[in-house]
Amino acid sequence: MDESCSMEAYLSSWDQEGPLPLQHFPEDVLLNIANRVPSVDWARFSASCRRLQELQPSAVAVTSSPWIMSRDIPGHIVSLLRWTSRHLQAAKTLDITLYPSASGAFSGWLELCRELPDTLLITAFRGALVSDVMCYKRMHAHQRRMIDEHVAVREQYYPINEVEELGAWLAARMPILCTLSLFVSYCPQLPALPMLTHLELQALKFDRVNAALQHMPALRTLLLACKHMEALLPELDVLALPNLTHLSLHDVYPELLLIPPSCRLDLHGEAETIQQCVGNGWEWALRQLHTCTCAWTNTRKTGLRVSHSGGLPLILREQSSISHLSILGRGELDFRGVPGSRAFELGLVHFLTSLRLKTDWGASIFIPATMQLQSLELYAPALHLSAEEEAWPQGLTDLCIMTAELLYDTHSGSPGYACVQPWELEELPVEELRASLEAAGKVVSMHRPSKREGGVMRITIAGCRFDDDGSMHRYNGGKEACTCGICWTCLQQP
């Protein structure tokens, strides 16, 4: 229907009784709406009318439920693939999360895709084509952590899945692709993608990654991740990518790492594994280390433990270029330092501008006077924060303290009442600091009513908190605009 017809139909509908017919909307308005609802809702909506059936949204985002895999509902995967392949043809962005099914859905997908044109003008493909191996490993990653002493670097055989073929097949048909994210067990043999600027590969094995990166001259950001498990590879050489400005490695450890001189390096991993795997082959790359996230994960064998500055990997204690440090713990984090020693090595604090500390247990931190922080984020159920005199630098622009009522978890598996303790405020002039920062127009967020503010001490159920509005927050910290990433509010955010 053209625009004048839709307007005439609209004007004639003024005399009708009852709800006005939606199909008179101009096509661009309908497409605008289609691109604002999840594909599953659009599929339901468009099933109500022939005109809507014919529309092709420019953003296709489909997710097959992992339940399909376990319940194997007949026809669901095939119908999902049929719908996607039909609507793929006008899509500019493609966001697919497909879990494997027992019925060989990916083979069916490949057959359906053969009906598509040879070239798809898709610019962003954020496909999470989860192979059954990855799915299995993901599902058990948490439990493995509870069993293993630490997540060891290991050599295992993972069968090549149809998912890798599909990812490579799709990428080969998208010559103007500028964003590609793949979630596969093996790094696939990727085609030449001359316009690709962002590549994110989440895999278990990266053996072919050097070859895959050869024909992507425009690449600017590269993320290689093997979350929850570590991946070892002999060499990662990205010197041939002149435009690369940002390399991020999540639990991926090449023996030899070569990066262009202007490229920023971010590293994310378990503290013990970083210490074990980052060696002489990283000597030059470490000079460009910008951000590091160090995690300590408790396992059944280690039990609850106290992590402290002595446990930081040696490269961090000696590395002076790092400006952002995140410390993630599952257990007590003690960065106070003992009398006669320093909580942080001088080499580390020299350039550090941003410090983030997050734990689901207690945290203690001492900020030395030499640390010129601009941003400090602390997320902990129980916090002991102290600073050397005059340590609160004028340059501090962002302060985020996210603490909850202090809990004594009963560990009984069922909610129990918890005690509430006052927050230790003696060491830090919180209110004065907040007032001075806010007066200077800085961002300050502190989500725990302190004793001084006359905050109401709530009765807290271990592991959960009920707010005045009746909403429940697990892990306590979360409120509106919470950014802790661990509370229920954050987990609900897309």
């Binding site: 307007m7 609209y10 004007l11 003024w14 009852g18 709800p19 006005l20 017919p21 939606l22 199909q23 008179h24 909307f25 101009p26 661009d28 308005v29 605008n32 709406i33 604002r36 609802v37 999840p38 594909s39 599953v40 809702d41 659009w42 599929a43 339901r44 909506f45 468009s46 099933a47 109500s48 009318c49 022939r50 005109r51 059936q53 097959s64 509902i73 026809g75 669901h76 995967i77 119908s79 999902l80 049929r82 719908w83 039909r86 127009g441």
Partner: protein
């Protein structure tokens, strides 16, 4: 400054500021044409809008005037107050969008005809919000869609949308 009068399809007139009128691109281009033909005349410029009813026009003009006021505030406010202002704008927009489906429908058509991109974005967001989680039958009832599909077509659509319908 010359007054601008927008005339709804039933003849009701609404006086509007030039800044607010400029948010409606259709009105802005009609004004240019009218000014070119009338020259330096001081009479108010009357823009007839035969496709928009009076109450919808009133609602659209309310949006334009408020947005213009917010724009001025945004320009004048220091950076520290921008977040607060954004929250105010969002709250106002949420209040503004508390309309029935019929009103929303007219608003979408008016925003499209008058070419007010910000209002159209707001309306399509509201439409999308009303679509979420509804079954085809609920959609038909809510949006007044008349059944236009044969039983065979319905069966074919049901099969190809099985993943979303069950």
């Amino acid at each position: 400054m010359r007054n601008i009068v927008l005339r709804a399809n039933d003849g009701a007139d609404h006086v509007i500021s030039v800044a607010a009128a400029s948010l409606c691109k259709t009105v802005a281009s009609l004004l240019q044409d009218l000014e070119a033909s009338k020259g330096e005349d001081t009479d108010p410029l009357i823009v007839p809008l035969p496709n928009v009813c009076n109450c919808t026009l009133q609602k659209v003009l309310g949006f334009c005037e408020q947005q213009r006021a917010f724009d001025e505030l945004c320009t004048a406010s220091p950076a520290a107050q921008q977040a607060d202002l954004t929250r105010q704008i969002q709250a106002w927009q949420m209040e503004y969008m508390q309309v029935s489906t019929d009103e929303l429908y007219h608003l979408v058509m008016a925003a499209h005809y008058l070419n007010v991109p910000r209002l159209l974005d707001l309306c399509t967001d509201a439409m999308a919000e009303r679509i979420r989680g509804k079954s085809p039958a609920q959609v038909r009832e809510c949006f007044g869609l008349k059944p236009s599909l044969s039983p065979e077509e319905e069966e074919e659509i049901r099969r190809s949308n099985l993943w979303a319908l069950n």
